[in-house]
């Protein structure tokens, strides 16, 4: 490890397997081994060697570490556990992305590409769902497939929303923003990424066993009697959760301990603040969802009694544990994107971030309060119990810190000079979308109104306005903003504008009518609805297809510009934060010298001191 390990670059020649392929092979071996362990134990206990669900659970839990070791963690890390020499995996070119690479910039790109792929796949599933919902009755899917595709769409998108922005930009940009050479724990960082491929592959394979029916929330007892796919869901959640925890340890340590000299808390870019608080939320609350899905899995595979009412269990307990994580998780989904938004607005207004301290206070306030609001998802469990009033209070209180984010956003653009480049368009659209998402959330927090709105399309519209309207718009804002930094090339501005307008218009046309649908008797997660709702549903579907088409424009632009875009230069936007004070893409250790922060990140006055000086030649 950090001892006198000589640096030996292990380049896999033509003879060697790419590490990703070896990982799959080892993962398969791990699976067989785990399944065999189960079979042996069962045979010894005399209950018949084979039981699919148990074999899958244990097999998968064996296959994940085997996979991670196989993609290169063995050479880079595992050998060290046994006192053997370790080697770093750092081949040139595209190969570096297919192994256990320790460079945070490589890992950021791995996250970005992986979760864009998942986003496109889960979006395609949404297209299928909207095709089914174009008219009442059976169109293409039938209720069983619909429910399963709905579950798959929901869960994959939740993973994208939780992971994409912190994974891609938290990894790529944040360490540069704080002036560090890398994350605090490069190996843990690589681990946090490489835990994802097994989880995602497992989910993509879940239709083979019939998928699962419970949506992304996985409520028992339905989850206890459901298809085998439910176990895939649980395993993916546990492994993905472990990745989140590992990643947040890394984020927090990096931000707290590795900031450049002079980068005081009051000078910290707002995106870094957002990642910091996101890290706090993931670090603590993710454990809880792992407990929830593990308990369901135990109910299923060893006959435990947690949520089985006939055995004395309590199904509602699941919802408490689940939402204890999953409400903070929705802030994990939006905080990083709000950070991106507040990062972009000052740059393209050429104005300081308005009310910086209030904005930071808002982000902290949201995070603190997010831990005490979970039961507002459960108002209808026992609609008139007094405890609900407390959760109504805490939930409505969260609108105050959320409002501070808006204060900062509108204060920043006021009297700015709005340079309407594509990242700015996305950031402004986020203000609009998130405003609708926030306001409609207040209706849900109100117990009487929630009586009608709970579990309807109002909820569907509301969370798409927050998670897509802010979270995913923030992802794309970040992609366009940092694309020149990551690739060194500029994207096609015209196509990017086409993408923006298609996405913005398509998004609003798709989700705005859903509020009306929810009020008028359309409950969520249904394959079929009352014929009276057909015209609006048809409209929503068509708008949804338009929204879907916008990502084809994006993909084309993304791929072509990455390969052939014109060179972007180190700082095409004229931004001040540290990632723009180095080349595009940055060198291996991010800077040609040691950065020292001497000024404010958002001071755009012509005579302002720079945000940071980079002392060249001091060290290397």
């Amino acid at each position: 490890m950090a001892t006198a390990t000589p640096q030996v670059e292990r380049r896999l020649g033509a003879s060697g397997l790419p590490f990703a392929a070896r990982g799959l092979l080892w993962g398969l071996g791990g699976f067989v081994l785990g399944a065999a362990v189960v079979a042996i134990i069962r045979a010894l206990a005399g209950v018949g060697a084979w039981r699919a669900d148990q074999a899958i659970v244990v097999g998968f839990l064996f296959s994940v570490p085997a996979f991670v070791l196989g993609v290169g963690a063995w050479e880079t890390w595992g050998r060290g556990w046994f006192g053997l020499e370790t080697y770093e995996y750092d081949p040139p070119g595209w190969r570096r992305y297919f192994g256990f690479n320790l460079d945070h910039k490589v890992i950021g790109v791995q996250y970005l590409v992986t979760f864009l792929t998942v986003f496109i796949l889960a979006g395609a599933v949404a297209m299928l769902m909207r095709t089914e919902l174009m008219d009442p009755g059976r169109t293409v899917l039938g209720p069983a497939s619909f429910t399963r595709f709905m579950s798959l769409h929901g869960f994959l998108m939740v993973l994208v929303a939780v992971t994409a922005v912190p994974g891609a930009f938290g990894n790529y940009v944040m360490p540069i923003m704080v002036g560090a050479e890398d994350m605090a724990f490069p190996r843990l960082n690589a681990l946090s990424f490489w835990l994802w491929p097994p989880a995602i592959l497992l989910l993509l394979a879940s239709p083979l066993v019939g998928g699962w029916d419970t949506g992304w929330t996985g409520y028992p007892p339905l989850a206890s009697v459901n298809n085998l796919g439910q176990i895939f869901y649980a395993l993916a959640f546990v492994v993905g959760g472990l990745s989140s925890i590992v990643a947040s340890v890394n984020f927090l340590t990096t931000i707290v301990k590795m900031r450049a000299r002079g980068l005081t808390w009051g000078r910290l870019p707002i995106f870094v603040w957002a990642i910091l608080l996101t890290g706090v939320l993931s670090l603590f609350f993710t454990q809880s969802v792992a407990v929830a899905v593990t308990m369901v899995t135990l109910d299923r595979i060893v006959g435990a009694a947690f949520f089985e009412p006939l055995l004395g269990g309590a199904p509602v307990l699941y919802q408490h544990i689940f939402w204890f994580y999953s409400h903070p998780a929705v802030y994990v989904m939006v905080l990083p994107s709000l950070g991106v938004m507040l990062e972009i607005l000052p740059v393209f207004s050429r104005k300081p971030l308005f009310a910086y301290r209030w904005a930071v206070g808002g982000i902290i306030g949201i995070s603190v309060l997010s831990g005490v609001v979970w039961a507002h998802h459960m108002f209808t469990v026992s609609a008139l119990s007094n405890a609900n009033a407390g959760f109504m209070l805490s939930t409505e209180a969260i609108s105050v810190p959320t409002g501070l984010v808006f204060l900062s956003a509108v204060g920043t653009i006021w009297r700015g000079r709005l340079w309407m480049k594509v990242p700015m368009l996305f950031a402004l659209a986020m203000v609009f979308n998130f405003l609708i998402g926030g306001i409609t959330g207040v209706f849900l927090s109100d117990i009487p109104a929630d009586y009608q709105l709970q579990d309807t399309y109002w909820v569907v519209a509301h969370f798409h306005y927050t998670i897509v309207g802010a979270g995913i718009f923030g992802l794309f804002a970040g992609i366009y903003y940092w694309f020149p930094k990551i690739t060194g090339r500029m994207f096609d501005e015209r196509l990017a504008r086409v993408h923006f307008w298609m996405m913005f218009v398509g998004f609003n046309l798709t989700f705005l009518p859903m509020f009306w649908l929810g009020l008028n008797g359309m409950n969520r997660r249904i394959a079929d609805y009352q014929p009276e709702l057909a015209p609006v549903n048809l409209f929503v579907s068509l708008a949804g297809f338009f929204l879907g088409a916008s990502f084809l424009v994006f993909l084309w632009n993304f791929v072509v510009s990455w390969k052939k875009g014109p060179p972007a230069g180190p700082n095409p936007w004229g931004a001040r934060t540290l990632e723009w004070q180095t080349s595009s893409p940055p060198p291996k250790l991010n800077f040609e010298g040691i950065p020292e922060v001497v000024g404010d990140p958002y001071d755009f006055a012509p005579d302002a001191p720079r945000h940071a000086e980079i002392e060249v030649g001091g060290e290397r």
């Binding site: 059976r138 039938g142 209720p143 069983a144 619909f146 429910t147 029916d213 409520y219 339905l222 009697v225 009412p309 006939l310 199904p315 509602v316 050429r350 104005k351 300081p352 009310a355 209808t380 469990v381 026992s382 609609a383 008139l384 009033a389 109504m392 409505e396 209180a397 609108s399 105050v400 501070l404 808006f406 204060l407 509108v410 204060g411 653009i413 006021w414 700015g416 000079r417 709005l418 340079w419 309407m420 402004l428 306001i439 207040v442 209706f443 117990i447 009487p448 109104a449 009586y451 009608q452 009306w516 009020l519 008028n520 008797g521 409950n523 249904i526 079929d528 609805y529 009352q530 001071d603």
Partner: protein, 271 residues
């Protein structure tokens, strides 16, 4: 008028216009469907009050956005006014938003919540037991000794306070009659309750929102786990209930038990 003042005045005017437009739009579009229960009035009141409050909030941010984009748009980067904070404005924003949050918590939040709670403590006129089963509802009128398995429709008397006792035979379901507004989960191993007073004679045929719809995802047949509700005059209801009770005396419950393909079991068309 200085430029700075003009910006404020125009934005303020825009805000007022947007608020007026918002109110007009909300007034002209019928957002909520017809209401057919007494208790649901609290729900609608809460919804409409929140809608009213939300218009100026939404309009304010929108006005600033729109005005800024039009007024300060530039084609080449240019330095903006270096304003870091306007403490009076930020404090005002904070205090107003805190006051708003407090206001909506008290009313319509707490007031509506307490009204619903006190309505639920009054003596009911009729008890109905509902059991959610994948994927239909079983209905029981215990006082009359009538139990119906997967009925084709559920009869309720108008202007009578009905107490539903909800439970489930398998997974979690939820009671929801959109025209009544109220929603309550039906949880296996537990009994939950809900009190509703239908206000007028109505039926599913006239208004599809007069249906008992399962509102908690319960598997394949969830979408079609609904059963039409028919609200009739109390006398008609009594007559029907008596008849149904007599029918129970004979060879048991055939009352509407062939309703399986109406609400229930829609999910069997696919493995």
């Amino acid at each position: 008028m200085s430029g700075r003042r003009r910006d404020l005045v125009v934005t303020g005017a825009l805000w007022v216009v947007l608020v007026i437009v918002g109110v007009l739009v909300v007034r002209s579009v019928d957002l909520l469907p017809a209401l057919r229960s007494e208790e649901g009035a609290e729900v609608d009141l809460a919804f409409n009050t929140l809608l009213l409050y939300s218009i100026p909030v939404f309009a304010f941010v929108l006005a600033v956005l729109l005005y800024s984009v039009v007024r300060w748009r530039v084609d080449e980067p240019e330095t903006g006014d270096q304003i870091r904070d306007v403490p009076a404005f930020s404090w005002g924003w904070f205090l107003v938003s805190t006051a708003l949050a407090g206001l909506i918590f008290v009313t319509p939040g707490l007031t509506g919540f307490f009204a619903l709670q006190s309505a639920a403590t009054e003596e009911p006129d009729l008890e109905v037991r509902l059991t959610g089963v994948q994927w239909h509802w079983d209905v029981e009128y215990p006082e009359a000794g009538v139990a119906l398995e997967a009925p084709q429709e559920i009869l309720l008397p108008a202007d009578r306070r009905v107490r539903f006792e909800l439970t489930s035979a398998d997974v979690i379901h939820a009671f929801w009659v959109p025209a009544f507004r109220l929603k309550q989960d039906a949880i296996p191993g537990e009994t939950t309750e809900l009190i509703v007073t239908p206000t007028e004679v109505s039926s599913y045929d006239a208004d599809p929102n007069v249906r008992l719809q399962c509102a908690e995802l319960c598997g394949t047949g969830h979408a079609r786990m609904y059963v039409p509700v028919r609200v009739v005059e109390p006398a008609e209801f009594e007559a029907w209930l008596t008849g149904a009770a007599m029918g129970m005396g004979g060879d048991g419950m055939d009352m509407g038990s062939d309703g399986m393909d109406m609400g229930g079991n829609a999910g069997h068309d696919e493995g």
